[in-house]
Symmetry: C2
Subunit: 220 residues, 2 copies
């Protein structure tokens, strides 16, 4: 019998890309803590140490999946209306990061210089420069926007309750926020309980403050 033209019983070749894809899937499913070399390997029907033929170590996996996620973010159009582009970029980043709850933490806690990240930053600076900002102001502007977006996203990801629970949660916790000790927290809780304040935090709120302020600093 002739040999089959293509590998027959060879298992699907492991590649760095397959490793990273599986890693993202695993992190999305069970959180970043459940991303261990052993679990990841088992997902790929392979032993843990085999992964080291394709990545140097776990950090390289983390860098890789972060850059993959950054690649999902809508990049600003250089030459477009800077306000519109920065707004779109920010909401897109927030949405993407909410889809991958583990990702923001990694982005803010390590130096990211993957290709997607570099392109993302380059486009952002480019959009601001072409809109008349100086390099210095563009740098500060980009940093301020991302600081806010990342901080906001972390705050939201971390908040342990859903918006539709706020009122009942506030009611439940009110006894632990005595009015004499925490008068304004107490007051805030009562506003939420009474339905006069929905307790929602919008990305838009702070983002618009920043973007409004930036317009003042733009040249041309």
């Amino acid at each position: 019998m002739a040999k089959a033209k293509k590998p027959v019983k060879r298992r699907a070749a492991l590649t760095k890309d397959r490793v990273l894809n599986a890693a993202v899937k695993l992190a999305d499913t069970g959180g970043i803590d459940s991303l261990s070399m052993r679990k990841l390997a088992s997902r790929l029907r392979v032993e843990a140490m085999s992964l080291y033929n394709h990545v140097a170590n776990k950090d390289e996996i983390l860098d890789g999946i972060v850059d993959k996620i950054v690649g999902e973010i809508e990049v600003p159009t250089v030459g477009g209306d800077w306000r519109v582009e920065m707004h779109r970029r920010s909401t897109s980043a927030h949405e993407v990061l909410m889809r991958h709850p583990w990702a923001t933490m990694l982005i803010v806690s390590r130096a990211n210089v993957g290709p997607h990240m570099l392109h993302y930053v380059d486009s952002t600076i480019g959009c601001l420069i072409e809109a008349g900002f100086s390099y210095t102001t563009a740098d500060q502007a980009w940093n301020a926007i991302d600081s806010y977006v990342h901080g906001f996203t972390l705050q939201k990801l971390n908040f342990p309750f859903e918006p539709d629970e706020y009122a009942e949660v506030a009611k439940a916790y009110l006894p632990q926020i005595p009015e004499e000790q925490y008068p304004y927290l107490h007051g805030m809780s009562q506003e939420v309980i009474a339905g006069r304040h929905d307790g929602l935090h919008d990305l838009e709120f702070g983002l618009n403050l920043i973007l409004d302020g930036l317009e003042e600093l733009r040249g041309d």
Copy 2:
């Protein structure tokens, strides 16, 4: 011989407070990763499991040290000039968090309801309310400010170079930022190399944008 009036050879009693103080010291010294139950215990000349007589688990330690750090932050004066108070609060928070590089990450990645944190938030909201902000706006304002301050601090903590290295670092990395691929990153690097842009990111920059914008939203 009469028994000594007080315990003589009894080792210094372990308490939750001593545990937390040692934990802060350990984290300050070697980073949060070096804070393990075993190392912490050894610092206190005790075995790891003994710590569990004073804290339920490691999470309780993390909650405890975060609240200790929050206690170092200057709290806004209720009734003071809101702009001055928010500014002071933000710079103080940033300074404290820079002193304890491990703390910001913990603050943004877990629900913090320790006494210092509650007081900190209560004073912040109180200051804004007394300045004429509505509960809803105060809530959004506080959230926006903290999102920015925490995000900015993380960004800064994470940046792997010191300001006085920026120029030489930019020079060293320039070959990896080809002009055709990343024209604006390339341009930014050249600005830094040439000394026309110092590459510094100020907390003030974004903070003032936010505070300026908030003034517009204030009632009264």
